[in-house]
């Protein structure tokens, strides 16, 4: 990148060496001397009254140090910051509401003992009828998940722009479709973990692999009934987050156990815990209606969402809000109507997952846009180009697009994929080809929660050796935020990247900020780091200018040196300047401070009509999928995927490419293979054996491209990339399948079974499978009672000679 030394360079992650040597200590690697091990007893029933809990047998087990139940926990319900529906407790008090609900927890000398103790706790339940489908939950007389709430509707939102009914009346063509997204897990490789330790002053330190150290401190303080300042959160590196590490009940439970035992306690989820009691993606039933003219002018759009909250609420209202309106800002559609119902069921609670509702809505919206194009007989890519948002637009929701490369993304993706030649060219025979496009936009630097933390702050300390340490509250989930911050700071100050480190968040010493979600890290965090770097640079330049007898404005920083522009031999090392600063101030460390509070951007949109410019910047993208559908097996082979993203400015090309390919892998999983199957509230595939995450051989050929629009609000013009990259993948694939076989899939994942059934319905196949006897009474594949185990002797059989 011309004009930059470090921005735009594919430098390795600043912690790559630690990671590749196995030296980086993750949250679940944390050890304290004398620590105990904790384990949670979870409800085996989806809905039941808790009549009694008897822990006496478990307590008698040697090695058991403490058992905590609802009796040990505060009685006031809580929820996460910025949300208002307090419906969670540390332990189920009178009722359990899903299979996995926390009932008790044990701290013991080792994990095996804790497990044994869990099996010895006797809980008497009175089973209650459960409700497992959000539409059933809305019916009259449905069992109530939270009786005190009066209904199963946890949250209701309704707002509009313009006049949708009038648009409908004026439209030549209307497409309406019902789309369903499934329960999918973030699948971060490191399960949730925590070490909790109390000090003698009554303060607890939580060592956490967490995206949002400051936010969890707020909710855990409420959960534990103590003030925030009595909790110190020390963030540890995360083995992946993807939105799933913003909250976890075992953290405050661990604090409770540590308090009770007066010893440090460590807890970690098993993979099974992850699949039955974490916060997977909020599933939605989406009704999407698109109205427009036959020339491709889009006049109106309405959306109605019924979202399956699960048993507790967490961030789901905000996720539903995002699903109701973010995608409205992708194309020029003036008349909009949105209505959403968030509904309790007796299932695993749900929460954020990369895309935050936008992924679900994009599947429905971008599928519907394609169907609208089909109805008017227009090339779907052309329809998108015709209506694409442009730089400078103010959308009906009040979003101000300071940069927008949507049209360029579409054009480049079409060219790269060979759209014109391949489109509508399914071929004949057993395997049919198809190509499909989908676009997206997302927020970057979303605020929309609480004014107290609208922007971001940072400070940078440069020691006497010229090494900089950056403090920020925007966390690295593994996506490389620390490296991005190091690049920004190094570029601005004139340091080498290897001279910059970025501290992990410690709520005692770091600035307070919301942490990483809503693609905040690069834009908000990056701007704060840039401001702090500017402040540090100013101080260094003052010293250098005095020493070099030059004007401060003539000083240039590069490669650890400050020199006079045009006279590179008149220079001073940054280390020397920093040392001079320190010596002149009795050992003080040169510190640059910076805050970034974007103006003209609202932190909380209007509570009723939800109007307001909520984000610093808005990234755009287009992806094109090329598929092959096997008419015999229903299998869909994804041959190639082109992803072109408007990310403002590339800070690190290797990192950017990795973000996109990784997100696409998740997007393909969302589209094709991933689903937590539940039956009466029970997750049937609670392991990576049966939850199908893509593996290396499953990845298609990838082509990744970038459009640099240089956003006026982004640091060096950069916008976020991590979240948007998976939003268009599923609809692009669904649209490609439509091109191949003319069938619209409304429900994710699009499994071979569904494809085959649809092909058959369409009458393309003549061969009918036979119907088999119902499987009633047959044993399950998975749940084999121990007495039937093979390694135990079965019935002896006579010899065969």
């Amino acid at each position: 990148m011309a004009g930059f030394n470090i921005i735009g360079k594919g430098v390795p992650l600043i912690d790559a060496r630690e990671k590749v040597t196995g030296k980086l200590e993750y949250g679940t690697d944390m050890v304290l001397p004398g620590m105990l091990h904790g384990k949670v007893l979870r409800s085996p029933l989806p809905h039941a009254r808790v009549l009694s809990i008897d822990v006496s047998k478990a307590l008698r087990l040697s090695g058991v140090r403490a058992i905590a139940t609802a009796a040990d926990a505060p009685t006031a319900p809580f929820t996460v910051p910025g949300q208002t529906l307090d419906d969670e407790l540390l332990f189920a008090r009178d009722k359990v509401r899903f299979i996995g609900d926390e009932v008790a927890a044990v701290a013991a000398a080792d994990l095996d003992t804790a497990e044994e103790a869990i099996s010895l706790i006797e809980v008497e339940y009175e089973p209650l009828p459960g409700v497992f489908d959000p539409e059933d939950a809305l019916k009259e007389g449905a069992p109530l998940v939270h009786e005190e709430h009066g209904s199963n509707i946890a949250n209701r939102q309704k707002f509009g722009r313009g006049d949708f009914d009038a648009a409908l009346a004026r439209a030549d063509v209307v497409y309406e479709g019902r789309f369903v997204t499934s329960l999918v897990h973030q699948g971060y490789l490191e399960p949730h973990g925590v070490v909790a330790s109390w000090d003698s002053s009554g303060r607890v330190t939580l060592y956490l692999p967490i995206q949002t150290p400051v936010m969890v401190r707020m909710s855990y303080a409420r959960a534990l009934g103590i003030s925030e300042d009595r909790i110190r959160v020390i963030q540890y590196p995360l083995g992946g987050g993807f939105g799933g590490k913003q909250e976890c009940k075992i953290h405050p439970i661990c604090a409770l156990l540590a308090k009770k035992t007066e010893k440090p306690v460590r807890m970690a989820n098993t993979r099974r815990d992850e699949f039955i009691a974490s916060l997977p993606r909020l599933p939605m039933i989406i009704n999407m209606k698109i109205a427009g003219s036959s020339d491709g002018t889009l006049l109106g759009k309405s959306i109605r969402i019924i979202a399956d909250n699960g048993a507790y609420t967490n961030y789901a209202p905000a996720i539903m809000y995002s699903a109701l309106m973010r995608h409205d800002n992708l194309y020029r559609i003036p008349n909009l109507l949105a209505e959403g119902l968030l509904v309790y069921t007796n299932k695993i609670p749900t929460g954020p997952f990369r895309g935050f509702g936008n992924t679900q809505a994009h599947f429905a919206f971008e599928s519907a846009i394609d169907m609208f194009a089909a109805k008017i007989g227009m090339d779907p890519a052309e329809l998108r180009l015709k209506n694409a948002r442009q730089k400078g637009d103010v959308t009906p929701h009040g979003w101000k697009l300071g940069s927008c490369g949507l049209s360029e993304c579409i054009q480049e993706a079409m060219n790269d994929a060979g759209w014109k030649e391949k489109r509508g060219n399914a071929g004949t025979g057993r395997k049919r080809h198809g190509i499909g496009i989908a676009c997206c936009l997302h927020v970057s630097g979303n605020r929309a929660v609480m004014p107290a933390f609208d922007g971001s702050s940072s400070y940078i300390r440069i020691n006497q050796a010229g090494k900089a340490l950056v403090f920020t509250s925007e966390t690295d989930l593994g996506q490389g935020a620390r490296t991005t911050f190091a690049q920004i700071a190094a570029e601005r100050i004139g340091l080498r990247v290897e001279d910059v480190n970025v501290a992990l968040v410690d709520t005692d010493t770091s600035p307070h900020g919301w942490g990483t979600w809503g693609d905040r890290a690069t834009t908000l965090g990056g701007n704060a780091v840039l401001a702090a770097a500017e402040d540090a640079r100013r101080q260094l330049v003052e010293i250098a200018a005095a020493k070099l007898e030059a004007n401060p404005q003539d000083i240039v920083g590069e490669n650890g040196r400050l020199y006079v522009a045009g006279a590179p031999n008149r220079s001073i090392m940054i280390a020397e300047a920093a040392k001079a600063f320190s010596y002149s101030k009795s050992g003080a460390i040169l510190t640059g401070q910076g805050s970034y509070v974007p103006d003209d951007i609202v932190s909380v949109p209007d509570p009723v009509n939800k109007y307001g410019n909520v984000s610093v910047a808005y990234p755009f993208a287009a992806q094109v999928a090329e598929v092959e559908v096997d008419l015999d097996t229903g299998e869909v082979n994804i041959l190639r995927l082109t992803a072109v993203h408007d990310l403002g400015r590339i800070i690190n090309p290797k990192g950017a490419r990795g973000q996109v390919i990784g997100a696409v892998a998740q997007g393909i999983g969302f589209a094709m293979t991933e689903e937590m199957k539940t039956e009466n509230g029970k997750v049937l595939n609670a392991s990576f054996k049966r939850y199908d995450v893509l593996r290396a051989p499953d990845m298609p050929e990838m082509s990744v491209g970038f459009v640099e629009t240089v956003d006026p609000n982004g640091p060096y013009g950069a916008k976020g990339l991590g979240e948007p990259a998976l939003n268009p993948t599923a609809p692009a694939i669904a649209n490609a399948i439509y091109d191949a076989v003319g069938i619209r899939f409304h429900e994710l994942p699009i499994t071979p079974e569904k494809v085959l059934a649809a092909l058959r319905r369409k009458g393309r196949r003549t061969q009918q499978p036979r119907h088999c006897r119902a499987p009633r009474g047959q044993p399950l594949h998975r749940e084999i009672p121990p007495q039937q185990h093979p390694l135990q002797a079965g019935r002896p059989q006579p010899h065969r000679l």
Binding site: P769, P779, I784, P786, P790, L791, G794, R795, R800
Partner: protein, 287 residues
């Protein structure tokens, strides 16, 4: 995991003695890729694991006349890498390759795959189709049982207390015979079989003389489909013949529940797998 004892006998004699001594709670431990999961989920009442990996008699792949003797401890990776298997019964290597991932295949054994008696076990259908048997040893001697008779159902085998599976005897198909295996799963890589089929065919003058078709994963135990096999015998197998035989194979199935897929879809895929296996075996026979 619950506490248990561990011992590592150095000979077959020692192993069967220990198993007899320890009684009901004693389980042989081979690759461990299944039993450790059962132990971690606290579903197995094991008081003692008898690690049989040091027993020399349980190792090796040898040709013994018309059959291969495959030691019970032979791993899936060893099956894959064996040139003897590749030359004589390549279908075994092919089936071994379907199983999970390299690391699991480096540990999991043929003996474990059979004794585990998991309906989706990949080696079992081809072994049965080939007419294989297992050699079992106990304190009172040795016996041989056909794999088809040994696997009684889901997680059930005809093993006697104190017995150890020593080896698998696989008849080597004669020159005008071949066996093929096809399977379907919910994912492309390393998925558990949702349904599978093995077909053994022999031919004489362009006509199928003997056919054995075995279905795996779809029912609680591997299923011989005699009607379809009988239909193939005496015909010159074509696409249509294979299709008809495949159709016959799925009539009257009693599929076990797979939470991921419907019965209809799995029986349809079973039909496809039979067709594929029959056509592949036939192509091989006529090569």
């Amino acid at each position: 995991m619950r506490d248990f004892e561990y011992c590592r006998p150095q000979s077959l004699k020692e192993a069967v003695t220990v198993l007899a001594e320890k009684g009901k709670g004693a389980y042989p431990l081979a690759g461990g890729t299944d039993i450790l999961i059962e132990l971690k989920r606290r579903r197995l009442p094991a008081s003692c694991l008898v690690d049989i990996k040091a027993i020399p008699e349980l190792r090796g792949i040898e040709r013994e006349g018309d059959a291969l003797r495959i030691g019970a401890l032979t791993t899936h990776s060893e099956l894959l890498g064996s040139s003897l298997i590749q030359e004589t019964v390549p279908v075994i290597a092919h089936a071994a390759r379907q199983m999970a991932f390299p690391e699991i295949r480096n540990r999991g054994t043929i003996g474990g795959n059979i004794c585990n008696a998991y309906p989706a076990a990949d080696l079992v259908p081809p072994l049965i189709a080939l007419g294989s048997s297992v050699l079992l040893a106990s304190a009172s001697g040795q016996r041989e049982v056909g794999v088809a008779e040994f696997v009684l159902g889901s997680r059930q085998i005809a093993i006697l207390p104190g017995e150890v599976l020593v080896a698998v005897k696989v008849p080597v198909p004669v020159s005008n015979a071949a066996c093929a295996y096809a399977r379907a799963s919910t994912r492309k890589t390393g998925g558990i079989a949702a349904t599978s089929a093995a077909a053994y065919l022999s031919a004489d003058g362009g006509v199928c003389r003997q056919a054995r078709i075995v279905l795996g994963a779809i029912e609680a135990k591997p299923r011989f489909v005699a009607e379809a096999a009988g239909y193939l015998e005496g015909t010159s197998i074509s696409e249509d013949v294979a299709k008809a035989a495949a159709k016959m194979s799925v009539s009257g199935l009693s599929p076990i529940v797979d939470p991921r897929l419907s019965v209809q879809y799995r029986s349809y895929m079973t039909e496809l797998m039979v067709r594929q296996a029959v056509l592949e075996a036939w192509a091989e026979v006529n090569r």
